[in-house]
């Protein structure tokens, strides 16, 4: 029986359910000291003086360090020239919460006392927090030697004004994709122990080898003396592949104090120190014919990078521009973008990283086309879909060639699960009844780019390479260890990769263990991001397992004196086809594999091991059709989601339970962006208004709906598994479905757009004030 496709229970769960998992802050080696940052209270200021005298006198304080102590070390890696980020603020602070000094003390209570006792004197500088303000000609500049706040600009060769003007109709939307915080429930934490044998650092991180590669260089030590371990990681969502100062400081502090040194953020620290996501502003123009056929699309993107450009933050707008046209055949597409720095927390990848922004905007403006043409939103989508026969489909951007998909089938399944026609009929009835809550139906036919990636793709974000590694090792008893370079943070790699290996090797699931997250044991690795786990790492496991099995069959055939062509493997044994009872166990084959006297001449001892770097010829393109039904209370403006239908196409599904879990989690974050979340700064001062979980609304169970999941499957032709990836799908597809439903409900009020988060206040104003703030539509 194949395990791929089966609802197998997770290997990870027993330890996590019994409280015996290992998260970084659970570790407490003897002599462990605790480090905490003094952070900037100003969003933009010169540092005049730092007075740590009182703190240094406190019992239990081991030391206080500032930028002046780091002159021998470079700035954090991966920035842009002129715009690099110092490990600790040097002379200038550029966002509230930026680390200015660091305290090491005997425990976290003493460290907090010391931080409170350190006085920093600032001379305030003018503050910019928004793209618009930062890009203004007279804006105060964060990096005077750079000359402006604009970091990068990629203009378009053709603004398509002629095509848009020639179209039967045209529409414009100005859309704000608000800043969100990833909020993994485990905030950043790391523990560095620099001993006689070099550095060992435990870090809650999505890419331990990536960190090792950069940290060893930064510290100027050989990689052999720099071991990074990512133990159990309590969520990441992109926010744990960022070069945070503590990752570089902790080793130095350990070296200087000759103690293990631990950082573990409080949530209030994390809300300003961990990278945020999204924060794009789009101006989209679309041209269309009378029958709803789209003729041209102009997509102008502005990205708020926060105070310092992050390597992934710089890439977000690239990915948005790549995915601008979504799942539609549009003859002319023009994209352009600019990125700017502001006095805010740096922005980096957050679940979807540039693709949710693209999907949201194209799906929003398709609804505007439907409204203008009087067509049903489903019909406009159908008329413009790339047909299933058109794959591989070359897009407006050369690197982007859609692999496969069946958008009409996904939409049809979504409409079926929604009972779409009945919902529309109910909506019509309710509109005739002024006392009934408003009903809205929203669709989102989304597509994203995943499976990172082809050679060159991750290198652009500063990674060593874009492959992923797997190493399959059979033990002498016929059990197997699978080492993978992709280190998880909740995805369930230990389960899914064991399923894949079990199918290929014929070794039972319970006799396979998956190891990850330790640079000393895992050969090399890239990391877990960009929905690449199954397509890239999973494919590596599959191919490596296949190669091990080929050699195992040779040994089994030798032992059985049979032809390897006649062997079949399963249930931990090799059987000779057609000769019942003639078999050898996997354990016997594995044992023999280490005994040269029992091996066929072409094999040497230890040959049941394979390491593999899986490359991909192209990205994968997960897609789907989501439908949302909302009810709006006319009195309060409160939005209730009545139905959330999720039809995904992620290609091959390894474990339906885990795949659905990934979709649910992503959708929850998408709904949250649509309805609840948003990082807010006080204009003028740049003070964070949403710097804890009291003020930043991460929803809990009563705030979110149940989900109805559906599925269609088109295989990805670019990897051996046929898998497309599933980690980000929900976050990409959900926001547009929810907002389209809300705008649909509000259509009788003349509303064509509402910016996220769609709070009850915004809706209430629309319902009660005729000149509502509804976003700019012309």
């Amino acid at each position: 029986m194949s395990l791929v496709g089966a609802k197998v229970l997770r290997k990870e769960d027993p330890r996590l359910l019994s409280g015996t998992g290992t998260f970084v802050d659970d570790l407490a080696p003897p002599g462990c000291a605790f480090a905490q940052f003094v952070t900037s209270t100003e969003a933009h200021a010169e540092i005049v003086a730092i007075d740590a005298r009182a703190a240094l006198k406190m019992p239990g304080v081991l030391g206080v360090w500032t930028a002046a102590d780091l002159v021998d070390y470079p700035d954090l890696p991966g920035g842009l020239p002129d715009l690099e980020r110092p490990v600790l603020a040097r002379n200038t602070v550029r966002f509230a919460g930026e680390p200015v000094a660091v305290v090491v003390a005997e425990d976290r209570y003493v460290a907090a006392d010391a931080v409170a006792a350190i006085e920093v004197e600032y001379r305030a500088l003018p503050v910019v927090t928004t793209i618009e303000d930062a890009a203004a000609p007279d804006a105060p500049v964060l990096f005077p030697h750079h000359g402006s706040n604009v970091a990068t600009v990629v203009p378009t060769m053709d603004d398509l004004e002629r095509e848009l003007e020639r179209s039967h109709g045209r529409a414009h939307l100005h859309l704000v994709n608000q800043r969100c915080a990833a909020v993994p429930i485990e905030a950043m934490a790391c523990l560095a122990d620099w001993g006689a044998d070099g550095l060992t650092m435990w870090a809650t991180f999505q890419a331990p080898h990536h960190l090792r590669n950069y940290l060893a260089t930064w510290l100027d030590v050989p990689q052999t003396r720099c071991r990074i371990i990512a133990p159990d990681v309590g969520g990441g969502f992109g926010s744990k592949i960022v070069w945070y100062p503590e990752l570089f400081l902790a080793p130095l502090l350990s070296k200087w104090t000759r103690r293990p040194v631990k950082f573990a953020q409080t949530r209030s620290e994390a809300m300003t120190q961990m990278a945020h996501g999204r924060d794009q502003v789009h101006d989209i123009d679309i041209g269309f014919d009378r029958d709803g056929t789209i003729t041209a699309l102009r997509f102008v993107i502005s990205q708020n990078l926060g105070a310092y450009p992050d390597p992934t933050g710089l890439g977000l707008a690239v990915l948005t521009s790549w995915m601008a046209a979504g799942c539609y055949r549009i003859p002319k597409v023009s994209t352009s973008f600019r990125t700017v720095v502001t006095n805010t927390t740096p922005v980096a990848a957050y679940r979807g990283a540039g693709r949710p922004e693209a999907a949201y905007s194209i799906e929003r403006i398709i609804d505007v086309v439907a409204r203008r043409t009087g067509l049903d939103p489903a019909e406009v989508r159908r008329r413009n879909f790339i047909p299933p026969s058109a794959f591989p489909y070359e897009t407006h951007n050369e690197p982007v060639v859609y692999d496969s998909g069946d958008f009409p089938a996904a939409l049809a399944e979504c409409l079926r699960l929604l009972d779409y026609d009945a919902r529309r009929a109910e909506q019509a009835r309710r509109r005739d009844d002024p006392t009934a809550p408003l009903l809205g139906i929203g669709l989102s036919c989304w597509l994203e780019i995943a499976g990172f990636g082809p050679n060159g793709s991750l290198e652009g974000f500063g990674h060593l390479a874009s492959w992923e590694s797997a190493q399959v090792r059979v033990q002498p008893d016929g059990s197997a260890i699978v080492f993978v370079g992709s280190s998880p943070h909740g995805q369930g790699h230990e389960t899914t990769f064991a399923q894949i290996a079990s199918d290929e090797l014929g070794i039972s699931y319970d006799r396979i263990e998956v190891r990850h997250g330790d640079t000393a044991t895992v050969l090399q690795g890239v990391g877990t991001m960009g929905s690449r786990g199954v397509p890239t790492s999973g494919s590596a496991v599959k191919v490596a397992s296949t190669r091990v099995l080929e050699r195992a069959k040779k040994i089994a055939a030798h032992l059985l004196e049979a032809s390897e062509l006649d062997l079949e493997v399963g249930d931990d044994a090799f059987n000779v086809r057609g000769s019942p009872g003639k078999k050898v166990s996997w354990g016997d084959v594995a044992w023999a594999s280490f005994q040269p006297l029992r091996l066929p001449p072409e094999l040497a001892a230890g040959s049941l091991e394979e390491r593999l770097f899986q490359e991909s010829p192209n990205f994968s393109y997960p897609s789907g059709a989501y439908g949302c039904v909302v009810s709006i209370d006319r009195e309060t403006g409160d939005v209730t989601i009545l139905d959330m239908v999720l039809v995904d196409d992620c290609g091959t599904v390894i474990n339906p339970l885990l795949a659905e879990g990934q979709v649910h989690g992503g959708v929850a974050q998408g709904i949250s962006q649509a309805l609840y979340e948003g990082v807010v700064y006080a204009p003028g001062t740049g003070q964070p208004i949403t710097a804890n979980l009291l003020d930043y609304l991460v929803p809990s169970a009563p705030d979110l709906p149940g989900y109805t999941a559906g599925r269609i499957t088109t295989l990805c032709p670019n990897n051996p598994l046929g898998a497309k990836g599933i980690g980000e799908s929900g976050a990409v597809g959900a926001p547009a479905a929810v907002v389209n439903a809300i705008v649909d409900a509000l259509a009788p009020f003349g509303v064509e757009h509402v910016d996220m988060p769609v709070t009850p206040e915004k809706v209430w104003r629309i319902l009660h004030e005729s000149s509502a703030a509804t976003g700019e539509v012309r």
Binding site: L9, R10, E12, D13, P14, R15, L16, L17, S18, G19, T20, G21, F23, D25, D26, A28, M58, D107, R108, Y109, D113, V183, P184, I185, E186, A187, D232, V233, G234, G235, F237, T266, R267, S268, H489, G490, Q491, G492, L657, L658, E660, G661, H664, G665, G666, V667, A668, Q669, N692, L693, L694, V698, P699, S700, A701, P702, L704, G706, Y707, G730
Partner: protein
């Protein structure tokens, strides 16, 4: 600046006397003094519930309880939960069966909150389960499978 006090707290049935800094939070007491690290810290404003444990059988957020408030009382942490399902309680087994956890960081708090919920309402509706877990945040699952997990536990009470 800190004052030390003696406390006697029974954790998972084991009574222990300790001299601690008076301001020690209960969550740090169980994690750092008792070395029971299954109880996690996810926020500092009692919003996330990762630190939920049972104090005299009632679910509390141990990041907003001082250890001295537990002096003379009984604390149950995730490490003290067990049952007939291969050592797991029905709630733990429900989470395993229904994929009610992904990264697992919020899970101990969820299990403790759900345990407390089912002790009070053995047969909750789905809405009651959601309302009962209102104080616990999970960033991975989107909650439906957590609701399914608690439902599983309600349908499989320990024999």
């Amino acid at each position: 600046m800190s004052r030390h006090v003696d406390v006697v707290i029974t954790v998972n049935g084991r009574r222990s006397e300790r001299r601690i800094d008076a301001r020690t939070l209960l969550v740090h007491y169980v994690r750092e003094h008792e070395r029971l690290t299954g109880t996690h810290v996810g926020c500092d404003t009692s919003n996330c519930g990762a630190c939920t444990l049972l104090l005299d059988g009632e679910a509390v957020k141990s990041c907003t309880v001082l250890a001295v408030q537990a002096d003379g009382h009984e604390v149950t942490t995730i490490e003290g939960v067990s049952g007939p399902y291969d050592g797991f309680s029905a709630v733990q087994e429900g989470f395993r069966q229904c994929h009610g956890l992904q990264c697992g960081y919020c899970t101990p708090g969820m299990v403790m909150a759900a345990t407390s919920l089912l002790a009070e309402h053995p047969h909750p509706s789905d809405d009651e389960i959601r309302a009962g877990l209102e104080g616990n945040i999970c960033r991975c699952t989107g909650y439906q499978m957590i609701v399914d997990s608690v439902r599983w536990a309600a349908d499989h009470p320990a024999p």
